[in-house]
Chain length 112, copies 2
Amino acid sequence: MYSKELVKGTLKTIILKLLSDSDKMYGYEITQKVKELTGGKIQLTEGALYPTLHAMEAQGILTTDVVNVGNRIRKYYTVTSEGEKIARDKVNEFSDFMDTMIFLLDLKPKMG
Amino acid sequence: MYSKELVKGTLKTIILKLLSDSDKMYGYEITQKVKELTGGKIQLTEGALYPTLHAMEAQGILTTDVVNVGNRIRKYYTVTSEGEKIARDKVNEFSDFMDTMIFLLDLKPKMG
DNA sequence: TTTATATACCTAAGTTTCTTAGGTATATAC
DNA sequence: GTATATACCTAAGAAACTTAGGTATATAAA
């Protein structure tokens, strides 16, 4: 797990990237996918995740589709076309930011 | 300039890296150096910088040396040996975090 | 059978970390 | 004599989280 400050500010970018790459995902699924992909190094908290999803829905970035699975509710989120553009912008901005930080901190990236 | 959320959480890391690589620096000098090195893409605000420097001094990470330059005061900051370790840890953690994000966001770094 | 864990949603109070918006003062360029 | 640069500082407010709950079903273990 990384220190809290570091992961701050990346939540929307992560959510939008995962949702853009898949048809639809539900909240709990997003937390599990991030945990799996990062080997547990990034673990989204539900207290941060759900309000962010609701805000992005209110802004027209995401739409929802509520499904009954057995007796439980599952709320699927899909990125709108407007959201797709925001997703690309967010990922590009983060990429640019990382390049700047790599230079500033005099680092060599380990991948690529 | 990057969106505010992104730069959040990197302030201490940036300050400690710059101070570790130099003998000593004063607050205003740090803001100018970061602005110069990032081509204006990261601009530290004094409202964030000074309280952070004071906190790190109180924690024994930094020591100060006040100097008179003409009739003006200049407060130089130096990293303590304890601070050097924290600086290395912070930079390493950020480096690791970037590797994780590069994988998660499916990016290719442009440098290295 | 009841207890713990996993699934699946949610909210609200509190904390941290920053931005915004000031204040003080000297030096220099226009 | 007015704006910009240098150089320090603080305090109120905002943003984005964490922490700590609450609700409810399904399943595995004891």
